[in-house]
């Protein structure tokens, strides 16, 4: 029998430290669903998703029962809809979003990602239609998530798309104003978007992917925090080693679940995303890990260094534990979904500027950040441009999921409920970026020599 202490350690991780598998996400290619008739295309899409994912939830629950490890979400990502829908003559893709929503409801998943367009260099016909459809699509659907890639290290930043997304985010916020502008919580603007991300809202099934695939996103901030509690006052070397070892164990659980899900569903295994994904629950926070390292409050000086160490050690520990690593892999810092980060914003120790600095060293970017509803669209576009620049220049993925909460001002907070959590509003610069954003065009791809 394996070591008694090891068994108790795993049980403690699950019971007390909130170790879970955050998501099993099935990626499905819809490229063969293109049709000159939008109606026919939507029928093909619905049929394909409901056929391939018929058993996704059931298998997820079986694995959860047998292994006794919670699997929080079962989700689906699909080929960016702009690529599939533009073969049709439709002038709006809202109906496509409704079809995705219906398919998601039929198979019992909680989110479906891929109402997306890849416009890092320019718009095709369908990209433009899709982007204009986003505000209504995210208002009339519940489970559909949308993402737009506006920049890439190899091609630069499409500033026309950046400008347009500022406007689209404001419109989405207005249309979902009855629910604290929740539509914006289902919309991510990326630079260097990855094709195999299992996490929402940014998941889509890239065109380089197989017909269908199983990707798994893990979690476990609470486990890392508890491990660090045992090395109080020790050096950074000891801390990095502790995180690596913990990440290894967490990732092994993810790899096991991914392997099982893949073989039971008869769909190839894609990747494990080595992520520390927080939830609003106490004891499941990335912010609190940073504080455990010795920071008085997340956001104070030293936070960026602490996050850099954490992110790197999670990757180092996780990479050996999984046969294929991908997705966004690293620590997530979604403000509204992290109890420690919410607290830090409320205490005034975490500002948008510090958050931006933190995105330079971790996965994703400005995530689930609520800002005042009267923020101009050019300011939102400029925030996206800054994040995209960090991603494009540093050859990493960055994203912006920002919510200008309609009718709310600084001092208020937005309630999204469930995993999306609660966000105190954060201040943005009061100075204008309008003339900068209105220029349009593209920021050229960066040179990759003379690195300084």
């Amino acid at each position: 029998m394996i070591n008694f202490q090891n068994i108790m350690e795993t049980i403690k991780m699950i019971e007390k430290e909130k170790l879970d598998i955050r998501t099993i996400t099935m990626g499905i290619s819809l490229l063969d669903c293109c049709d000159s008739s939008g109606k026919n295309a939507r029928k093909k899409i619905y049929d394909k998703i409901t056929r391939l994912a018929e058993n996704l939830v059931k298998v997820g629950e079986e694995i959860e029962t047998e292994y006794g490890i919670p699997i929080i979400n079962k989700r689906i990502s699909v080929t960016p809809i702009a690529l599939v829908a533009q073969a049709s003559e439709d002038k709006s893709y809202v109906e496509f979003a409704k079809t995705l929503d219906e398919a998601a409801a039929t198979v019992g998943i909680n989110f479906i990602g891929g109402f997306s367009a890849l416009v890092q260099k320019g718009y095709s016909k369908g990209d433009r239609i899709l982007i204009e459809s986003i505000p209504e699509a995210l208002t009339v659907t519940e489970k559909v998530c949308s993402s737009i890639n506006v920049g890439c290290t190899k091609t630069g930043i499409n500033m026309d798309a950046v400008r347009d997304m500022g406007r689209i985010i404001k419109q989405t916020a207005y249309l979902t104003r009855e629910r604290d502008s929740i539509g914006c919580a289902k919309l991510v603007v990326f630079a260097n978007a990855v094709e195999d991300n299992p996490f929402m809202a940014g998941a889509f099934h890239g065109v380089g992917e197989a017909e269908s695939i199983i990707n798994v996103g893990i979690s476990g901030p609470g486990v890392v925090k508890c491990a660090l509690e045992n090395v109080k006052g020790e050096s950074f070397d000891v801390m990095a080693e502790t995180i690596k070892k913990t990440a290894f164990k967490i990732t092994r659980a993810g790899q096991l679940v991914a392997h099982e899900a893949s073989s039971r569903l008869g769909i190839p295994f894609g990747i494990v995303d080595l992520s520390l994904a927080p939830t609003p629950a106490i004891g499941d926070s990335v912010g609190r890990i940073l504080e455990e390292m010795g920071l008085e409050s997340c956001g104070c000086h030293g936070t960026t260094a602490a996050l850099a160490l954490l992110n790197d050690a999670v990757k180092k520990g996780g990479i050996m534990a999984s046969s294929h690593v991908g997705g966004l892999s690293g620590a997530f810092i979604p403000v509204s979904e992290d109890e420690g980060m919410i607290d830090a914003v409320q205490k005034g120790s975490l500002s948008l500027d510090k958050l931006e600095a933190m995105t330079c060293v971790c996965s994703v970017g400005l995530d689930m950040v609520a800002i005042p509803g009267d923020t101009p669209e050019s300011t939102i576009a400029a925030i996206i441009a800054d994040e995209a620049a960090i991603g494009v220049i540093n050859n990493k993925t960055t994203g912006v999921r920002i919510i200008p909460v309609y009718g709310k001002i600084l001092g208020d907070s937005a309630e999204f409920g469930g995993l999306l959590g609660m966000a105190p509003l954060m201040a943005v610069s009061k100075f204008s970026s309008a003339d900068f954003i209105s220029r349009g065009g593209r920021i050229p791809a960066p040179v990759h020599s003379f690195k300084n």
Binding site: I2, N6, T10, E66, G68, I69, K249, R252, A253, L256
Partner: protein, 89 residues
């Protein structure tokens, strides 16, 4: 398939009997038992073989939970691979 059953709670008379009664009824073979007592806190891990089990895994899990409630301890059953995978290379 083999699984680990873990029993955690306050120590009292009849814990092992309560668990093994459920196992015997459903033809689950106990391969190994390891237990420890920290003050009055009881922790036991059993390695069991489910090859000849007469009910499905989910039902066994539910019966163990019910037995646990009667005894006043927490009983979990989990596939052994989770532990093997997490703690060995």
């Amino acid at each position: 398939m083999k699984a680990f059953i873990s029993v955690i709670g306050d120590d009292k008379i009849g814990i092992i009997h309560g668990v093994t009664t459920v196992l015997k009824k459903n033809k689950v073979n106990v391969l190994d038992i390891n237990q420890t007592l920290l003050q009055d806190y009881f922790a036991m891990v059993m390695l069991v073989d489910l090859k000849e089990m007469t009910i499905d895994f989910k039902q066994l899990k539910e019966e163990l939970v019910v037995a646990g409630k009667e005894i006043g301890v927490s009983i979990k059953i989990q596939h052994e691979d989770l532990f093997n995978t997490m703690h060995s290379i």
